[in-house]
């Protein structure tokens, strides 16, 4: 059986009984066979019994928690079953060695810039300004200069959003709190993506806290932040354009009672459904010559990183080829 992502949007409780996890609330009890679960996204207020939690841990299921406003809170990241001392030691070496770290940080930003440009072109927009940030990137000699190049590209990229979005205003990127509907969706989508990347890292030997672009000292598993940069335009931004322009998500799906705008429960439901459809959508992989899902593309990115740190093949970032 192929394991799936489970998104639990309503409030309730996760329990274990034999080989089954049950989601239970006043509306009833829904069984989820353990072998069907890849990861759980808890978007409502979720109680998990310790039995359920240890079972999920044993089966290597990550659980990602979001608060009732849809803000990411943290992840349950079970003890890893795939541990390779060799990989972790070399991963740390690629962080500690200035040139090696710079190489990877630049690669992530290069991929991110190229993907932003691809998304603009797919939407009929001019990408020259975004692409020109590659110049600053190639000249960067320090991590903050790499970050700077990324910021230049991102500003140019965001400046096109108001022409792409048909029924909503974007204005500028605002985060905490998001100032409008489009920003609320991007923020929510980015946290879902971060969680999805973290689940993929879990299924490899990579250490989630050793990162190259972001400082490992940040509160989150920073390697997931690094890898997520590549996929934000491809997965999240395109999804937002799609949901807004096809009027799948409309103003009634938001709540602006909290000095800022957030998706309400119904909006979150629609969003996670569409988000998961994206993760499961497949494209033909040019090298593997098989169909791979977007979610799998994230895993492949992890594999490429492992090969890079093992000196088997230089890492080249994922750039959307379709």
């Amino acid at each position: 059986m192929r394991r799936k992502n489970f998104y639990i949007v309503s409030d309730g409780k996760l329990k274990r009984k034999e080989n089954t996890i049950y989601f239970e609330n006043e509306e009833g009890r829904r069984p989820i066979p353990i072998s069907a679960i890849y990861a759980i996204y808890a978007l409502g207020s979720l109680t998990v019994t310790s039995k359920a939690l240890s079972y999920l841990a044993k089966e290597g299921v990550c659980v990602h928690f979001f608060n009732r406003y849809g803000f990411y809170e943290g992840s349950f990241y079970p003890r890893e079953s795939l541990v390779s001392g060799e990989v972790v030691v070399r991963q740390a070496e690629h962080y500690l060695d200035r040139d090696k770290r710079l190489y990877l940080a630049k690669a992530f930003v290069e991929g991110s810039i190229m993907n932003m440009a691809r998304v603009l072109r797919k939407n009929g927009e001019d990408d020259t300004e975004v692409i020109s940030a590659l110049q600053a990137l190639s000249e960067a000699e320090k991590i903050d200069e790499v970050m700077g190049a990324e910021a230049i590209a991102r500003n140019a990229y965001y400046s096109k959003f108001d022409t792409i979005l048909k029924n909503m205003k974007f204005e500028r990127r605002s985060r905490q709190p998001p100032e409008n509907e489009a920003n609320a969706m991007i923020s929510f989508g980015n946290s879902l993506l971060y969680s999805a990347v973290l689940s993929e890292i879990y299924h490899t030997q990579l250490h989630p806290a050793i990162s190259f672009l972001h400082e490992p000292l940040e509160r989150r598993f920073s390697l997931a932040l690094d890898i997520a940069e590549l996929f934000k335009p491809v997965i999240v931004d395109r999804l937002v354009f799609n949901l807004v322009n096809r009027k799948v998500v409309t103003e009634s799906d938001f709540d602006d009672r909290f000095n800022g705008v957030l998706l309400n429960e119904n909006g979150r439901k629609k969003f996670v459904k569409a988000f998961n459809e994206r993760l499961e959508k497949t494209v033909k992989h040019r090298k593997l010559k098989r169909n791979v899902s977007y979610q799998r593309l994230i895993r492949l990115e992890c594999y490429k990183l492992v090969k890079h740190i093992l000196n088997a093949e230089k890492y080249r970032p994922f750039v959307m080829w379709w």
Binding site: E86, V87, L300, L310
Partner: protein, 165 residues
């Protein structure tokens, strides 16, 4: 104890299947999902062997063995003859290993689906061959990860996506 005691049978097998696989496996860079091929192997194993066999575990190796008079016969059941050479050396390694412990053993590779058995005998020349393989395995494992080279069976290998993405 001799060094090669710390080499596992499956490493001898992978040495003949693929050096990249040997290296990755030896550095714990495993792929988590058992492929269906592995599951099928286990299934065949169970249905053929369930009754009269015993698994014995010595150091790093686990083998199925039956006693036949004063020799031990060890058997490996395989679902196909695709990796016959690898299976042959893996079994030969068990014989070699047991001989170092003073146990005389003969080997049999069986292919229930093809109704075919292959005898494996440890003699002077095959023992020498074994020794050179056992010398070479640490050389591969202690070197850098060998670059994946595409082979016919790669598409069925658990590492396929890892190697060729």
């Amino acid at each position: 104890m001799i060094d090669e005691m710390y080499i596992r049978g499956v490493q001898v097998n992978y040495y003949f299947v693929c050096k990249t696989k040997l290296w990755l496996f030896s550095h714990n860079v495993g792929m988590e999902n058992e492929s269906d091929a592995v599951k099928l192997g286990k299934l065949i194993h169970r249905s053929v062997f369930d009754r009269d066999e015993k698994e014995i575990r010595i150091g790093p190796i686990a083998i199925d063995a039956v006693r036949k008079g004063d020799v031990v016969e060890i058997r490996e059941v395989k679902k196909s003859r695709a990796f016959e050479k690898a299976s042959y050396y893996q079994l030969l390694y068990y014989l070699y290993y047991l001989s170092k412990l003073g146990i005389r053993a003969v080997g049999k590779l069986s292919y229930p689906k093809q109704r075919k058995n292959v005898e494996v005998i440890l003699d002077e020349s095959s023992a020498r061959e074994m020794e050179s393989v056992l010398d070479d395995i640490p050389r591969v494992v202690n070197g850098e990860m060998p670059r994946p080279v595409y082979k016919k069976h790669c598409r069925k290998c658990a590492y396929f996506e890892f190697c060729f993405t």
